[in-house]
Symmetry: C2
Subunit: 332 residues, 2 copies
Amino acid sequence: MSDPSTAQNAADSIHGRGEFAVIDAITRRLPQGEAVSVPPGDDAAVVRIDETPVAVTTDVLVAGVHFRTDWSGPDDIGRRAAAATLADLVAMGADPVALVVALVAPPSTDADWVLRVADGLRDEAAITGASVVGGDLSAGDRIAVTVTGIGSLGGRVPVLRSGAMAGDQVAVAGRLGWAEAGLAVLGRGFRSPRVLVDAYRRPEIPYWAGLVAAASGVHAMCDVSDGLLADLGHICTSSDVRINIESALIEIGDPVASVAAAYGSDPLPWVLAGGHDHAFVAAFAADDELPEGFTRIGDVGPPTGFDAAGGSMVTVDGEVWAGPSGHRHFDG
Amino acid sequence: MSDPSTAQNAADSIHGRGEFAVIDAITRRLPQGEAVSVPPGDDAAVVRIDETPVAVTTDVLVAGVHFRTDWSGPDDIGRRAAAATLADLVAMGADPVALVVALVAPPSTDADWVLRVADGLRDEAAITGASVVGGDLSAGDRIAVTVTGIGSLGGRVPVLRSGAMAGDQVAVAGRLGWAEAGLAVLGRGFRSPRVLVDAYRRPEIPYWAGLVAAASGVHAMCDVSDGLLADLGHICTSSDVRINIESALIEIGDPVASVAAAYGSDPLPWVLAGGHDHAFVAAFAADDELPEGFTRIGDVGPPTGFDAAGGSMVTVDGEVWAGPSGHRHFDG
């Protein structure tokens, strides 16, 4: 008997319909109760527990899709899994309090290897003061790590993707393109420049800058996990604005530029479309002094004259970016 | 190159060391911050978010380990995945407020099948008034559903496994052995008795009875997911007590008894060691009137004279149970 979970026609599969379309279809089927302050669709949801707003978000990393066990050590994998969730909480303006983790692994997996994944989760969580408070462990074919985080808004309003306004300045805190350049290095079978490989294996996320931005009244924020242009596209769609990035304002790190030169590549696609760095990109009022760690890279404009379909609401130096704007899974 | 995540020696693998030993080793490496009221080791953890206690727990179900796509429909799988997490929250005395879900699926998976998993999650959550507020979707070899839940204690103290006291009465709410009997039916290639197959596919969990018990000052509670004796063993270990079950007090459902008779099996192992029903088992003060839905099945005694190692602290009719006491994963 064929597996009833497999699509009869490729067009009806997750791959055929597209990951984002399936997520969108799921979301439309989910009624949201009275306790829900921020429904699905932002970096995290916010629900009221006994009148206290709690931010909650979940992320899954799968071997062969989000990491390779021969490219990243178990502690690196744990750190990255925690980081993806912690960055989502911070992008919401929430201070991470606790993580829970579900680990799927083949029964033949080295138990010490698993312990080191837990160490990585613990150490990344500790940067933000969060604790790993629970988990589950199950057999499966491939290693997969699902990390769910909950965080405190501490009396602040959540920072939504929908708050950007025409006239705002767009600014970024953290690295852009470093992890993608590191992946390019690993993909060619190299292990150096080490600083780029490390940037991929163990991203350094400016959690503090994100929380300071949230406390200072930032209009909109997300972490860059899909790629800068894709994530700015989410802000544009949610806020009904357009965003123009000035490429001259984007700092291209020296190692990124060097490796691009060595490979005869243009570093800009890594910077504009690379994920994994978990920088924070945000819209601030035009006359705001930017919080420490943030650098202006562009501006928010009205949506007039732009295609409401998404990606083309983001321009680079006034032009629609011709290259890829971000990552997709389910392309395998 | 061999995969660095795979154990060189079978004894060092998760299977070799044992699932619970690995979980225990992980837990010992995780420091718990000041915000953590109930650390890992109970049905759920409790953390304070802006001084409000929040219960949080996560469960993962993997195809071929916890369900089979030819035995359960997508809505059933969604319901069971939600139920495992919701039952953990209720066993903690927490009213479920929100779920987030991470779904791993092959790219060839039918998108409509995935939507029906989401429907099942939604419908089971709705029984408790909880909303599905977010999620993540990733490619992988096998379908896996990780559901994390957060819940409100509404000013009550959490119901721990460690609160049972000598002299307490042990009582259960919900079905025992029905789902296991349904699995036995499916395992023989049958689809009837339908009532047992349905009990496996879509367990009916007495969430309400669990919450009423929590509000009425129950001493200790857990949901039966590992098997009655195994879960009572957790209470014994945490509470430093022994528990004796009187088999004559355990109701064996008519369909369970009939199928056991037809298969020439003893129904007691299904009842004592079967999982999946998510009944609530609890210790109440001896003179408490049991809340509606709970039936007394035994008593709590002092630990004297019993082996502190675990399982043998639970007896059936005064004897150590010779059969299996519960489920293990990683046996494949």
